[in-house]
Symmetry: C2
Subunit: 239 residues, 2 copies
């Protein structure tokens, strides 16, 4: 290999490493944002919820910085094949992480409303769901940082449990609303909070799929059995 292309190759490897580090760092920010949003929800901490909403602008800024860097890498290094695939996957992962941040901020916004509106509501199942979503997000960020396809597969599998728990929570909240009309307003916010957590799980799964693709060049099958609410309802109404 001539000296020149070896030099170019190693510069590109360095850029790719830096891109991966930036994304893992953004992932860390999003993890913190979600952890704080969940704590604010479960402990009814309005000040923390307000800080989460504020924090989301940092995540958005990080997305733009990564995007600018990825575009510079594309322009300067003009990668092809596998290398190009990794940069494109990085751009898409960043979009998913930004969406996860948005959903976490949305949980925090609704927590602020709940704190003013409702005297009390059941949070045990939501706490359990939050834990699963946070674990899955953590594994996802690890999969990115370590470019580990096996971790990506485990995220993809675990999302099923999150979907099942969402279905349980949906039914609990409907029952709670039916028991007492005064619960309705607060419970609709809790429904959307549960939905936000379920969507965070979906985006973590997207990131896992992209990470698997970037690492192996293969796509995970499209046919993971979806256990979401709508599928459950469809099954139920067929019975």
């Amino acid at each position: 290999m001539p000296e020149d292309s070896k030099h170019i190759l190693s510069s590109f490897e360095a850029d790719l490493g830096r891109l991966r580090d930036m994304i893992a760092a953004m992932g860390g920010l999003v993890e913190t944002e979600l952890a704080d949003a969940v704590t604010a929800l479960l402990t009814r901490d309005a000040a923390l919820a307000a800080r989460v909403v504020e924090f989301d602008t940092r995540v958005d800024a990080e997305e733009r910085a990564i995007e600018q860097f990825a575009i510079r890498v594309l322009a300067l290094r003009q990668p092809v094949a596998d290398d190009l695939r990794q940069v494109v996957a990085a751009l898409k992962v960043t979009t998913d992480l930004e969406r996860i941040g948005d959903y976490a901020a949305n949980v925090a916004k609704r927590t602020l409303i709940l704190n003013e509106a409702a005297p009390s509501y059941p949070l045990a199942s939501l706490a359990q769901m939050s834990r699963l979503v946070q674990e899955n997000l953590k594994t996802t960020i690890d999969a990115i940082a370590e470019a580990d396809p096996q971790k990506a597969v485990s995220v993809w599998r675990a999302d099923q449990m999150i979907d099942d728990l969402y279905t349980t929570i949906f039914r609990e909240l409907i029952t709670y609303m039916m028991e007492d009309a005064r619960n309705i307003s607060a419970c609709t916010h809790l429904l959307f909070i549960a939905k936000n957590l379920e969507r965070i799980g979906d985006h973590a799964t997207n990131v896992a799929e992209l990470t698997y693709y970037a690492a192996t060049g293969e796509t995970l099958p499209d046919t993971r059995p979806k256990g979401d609410l709508l599928a459950a309802y469809a099954r139920q109404s067929n019975q």
Copy 2:
């Protein structure tokens, strides 16, 4: 300019034109999907709703085709500066269009559940909101096809009306649930349908922002006054 680079330049222009055509075509598919989802909802047409769910796989396939083509353009033409920006914006627009398709499919799935579960429910405001969202999506697709920044700005402005209508519908549905507990289950699905439509509006706005950026190199300001539900609630609770 030497013959060679003129040739390369015009090939890239042709690729960029083809990319724009592919995205406009995908936009057309998504427009059809949304129109059918709305018709199925308003006319309680279960067969049409089922076809919408099926149709969404075509939109997903189109997203993958565009992505593959964009990656090939990046690899073969190695564009820089403005040209590179346009290809990257195209990749991001495709992600937003795919999400709009998902939300339309979700409206259709919930329509299927509603048709089995609920005898009747008020749809006038949802019909109005659907019309606005469809108009905004149409203007967005036109803005892409014509690379027209002014149309992009008008989408960005009109999203405010959609957000306001969403807030109205949210309140109507809560009232309806409070009046009679038998409405709760159906109305929660309608709440999510309204939320899906509002999200479609947001993604159309994203596409408009990307189209504006690709056409002008400038970003629209971040500070468009958000008139969404959470902002409205926050205002209300400050009164």
